[in-house]
């Protein structure tokens, strides 16, 4: 369950709205059950926000990892760990969905 694959494409769930205010990202649940409490909001740390901006619903995680590697010239294994970590957490919370899942 919630197995994250680098081959897959992930996108923002229709059950949340992601907004940027003055450069600050907030994720607002539209429906109940996204957080533990109904009125919970979420935000991402710097690394999370960088990866979030790449999750366009068109690009696979593998391509995202490669793009970040090229842009920041960082260690691929570390980037992959961060991307899978973030996506796993967002999928578990119902904020991201796997586009390839019917």
């Amino acid at each position: 369950m919630n197995e994250i694959s680098v081959k897959n494409i992930y996108m923002c769930s229709e059950d949340v709205v992601a907004r940027e205010i003055e450069g600050e990202l907030i994720i607002v649940p539209l429906v109940a059950g996204i957080g533990d409490m109904d009125d919970e909001l979420f935000t991402l740390n710097e690394t999370g926000k960088l990866i979030w901006d790449c999750l366009d619903g068109k690009t696979s995680l593998l391509d995202i990892i490669e793009n970040i590697q090229r842009e920041y010239n960082a260690d691929t294994d570390l980037i992959e760990e961060d991307v899978l970590g973030l996506v796993g957490e967002l999928v578990r919370r119902g904020i991201l969905i796997d586009k390839s899942t019917p």
């Binding site: 709205v17 992601a18 907004r19 205010i21 003055e22 450069g23 600050e24 907030i26 994720i27 607002v28 539209l30 429906v31 109940a32 957080g35 109904d38 009125d39 919970e40 909001l41 979420f42 935000t43 991402l44 740390n45 690394t47 999370g48 990866i51 961060d82 970590g85 973030l86 957490e89 967002l90 919370r93 904020i95």
Partner: protein
């Protein structure tokens, strides 16, 4: 393992630091109708439920959606849906959902009389931050003395019970009126027993937006005297302690001095605004002076926020009496007087309003005595 996602603790949100040096419209009141199913004696806005003229002037769903888009673009996070009675709008669900889908955090003011199972199912699916309900009485006699609508008490209790059972966060409040004065302590007890949120009551009634003289007289008749207001605030331990803890340092400061003649020293138009049912932008919900409002049907929110507000906040007082009595008054924080309320009372934004003055001084005296008693 690193966590990339965190629950947003609003107090620590880094946004507040970023906007310290400029104005961002973080929240707004949206009056989606002025019509109401009740006819409360003290109400400053309500028009009859069947008022076709008022209904025809109401912002449409498309207009509301457009204003909300503009607000979101400017950085708005919160929107409070109010009225009149918002649930009277036939397209209430569509309005609510349209705003929610823009990522706005919604709250709702309602009298609860029209709440149905359908509303509950909807709110459970798309939760508001909270719903705030006014409790004008906890007996049929008192409640309907205020609302002047036979049968309203039963509807109110039914709606309120549905809301309580739903698990939605409910806040309760009341207005302290001549008509419910003898039941206030029971109303407070009821509210505190039924909601975990802070119960608030307001004894300071302001006058009608439409300046209807007959209705304004009815509001004046509902006002408590300064002694009565002090008595109920003293009798309510939570309120009394809040006044002592939060207001004393303002009042007994020797340094309170405003060295200018600007009218606005309040927060109006700094981080919030109000939109009337017919599309008028205001700096705060009470500010209706014709020079201060802006018709969003003929302009944009960006223009109102960035260009209209600075002009209004730059208005200066030319009334020597106001400048002498109010501008440096150290108990201004206990007073209802402000440009909005002064205008509703007198037609001028810089006027001294004797009733407000009496209440503020009586409150200050009571507060001083309470602090002395505590040593």
């Amino acid at each position: 393992m690193t966590s990339f996602v965190s629950k947003l603790n609003l107090e620590d949100f880094s946004l507040w630091k970023k906007i310290e040096d400029h104005r961002v419209p973080l929240d707004f009141y949206l009056e989606i109708t002025a019509r109401c199913n009740n006819n409360c004696r003290h109400c400053f806005i309500n028009l009859p439920e069947g008022d076709v003229e008022a209904q025809n002037k109401e912002l449409t769903l498309a207009e509301i959606s457009d204003i909300a888009d503009q607000a979101v673009e400017l950085g708005t996070m919160w929107c409070l849906l109010t009225g009149g009675e918002p649930l009277l709008r036939e397209d209430f669900f569509e309005i609510y959902l349209a705003l929610k889908k823009k990522g706005l955090l919604l709250s709702l003011f309602t009298n609860a009389c029209l709440v149905t199972e359908e509303h509950i199912a909807f709110f459970k699916k798309y939760p508001p931050q909270y719903i705030e309900v006014s409790v004008y009485g906890i007996s049929e006699e008192v409640y309907e003395r205020v609302t002047r609508k036979p049968g309203s008490y039963a509807n109110f209790r039914h709606g309120l019970d549905l809301l309580f059972e739903s698990g939605i966060k409910i806040k309760l409040k009341t207005m302290a009126l001549r008509s419910n004065f003898n039941e206030l302590s029971e109303i407070a007890k009821f509210c505190r027993e039924h909601s975990d949120s802070t119960f608030r009551f307001d004894p300071l009634l302001h006058l009608r937006y439409d300046q209807d003289p007959l209705r304004n007289n009815q509001i004046r008749q509902e006002r408590l005297t300064s002694d009565e207001i002090v008595a109920i605030e003293k009798a309510d331990e939570e309120r009394s302690m809040a006044l002592q803890n939060n207001c004393a340092h303002f009042i007994f400061s020797d340094n309170y001095r405003v060295d200018d003649d600007f009218l606005f020293h309040c927060g109006a138009g700094k981080s919030s605004f109000t939109v009337s049912y017919d599309g008028f932008f205001r700096l705060c919900f009470g500010l209706w002076h014709p020079d201060t409002i802006y018709n969003l049907r003929n302009g944009t929110l960006e223009e109102a926020w960035n260009h209209h507000i600075p002009k209004i906040r730059n208005i200066r007082s030319t009334n020597p009496e106001f400048l002498r009595i109010c501008q440096n008054c150290p108990i201004v924080n206990l007073c209802l007087n402000c440009p909005a309320h002064a205008y509703l009372e007198t037609g001028s934004m810089d006027a001294v309003v004797p009733y407000f003055c009496q209440v503020a001084h009586a409150r200050a005296t009571a507060l001083e005595e309470a602090i002395k008693e505590k040593g």
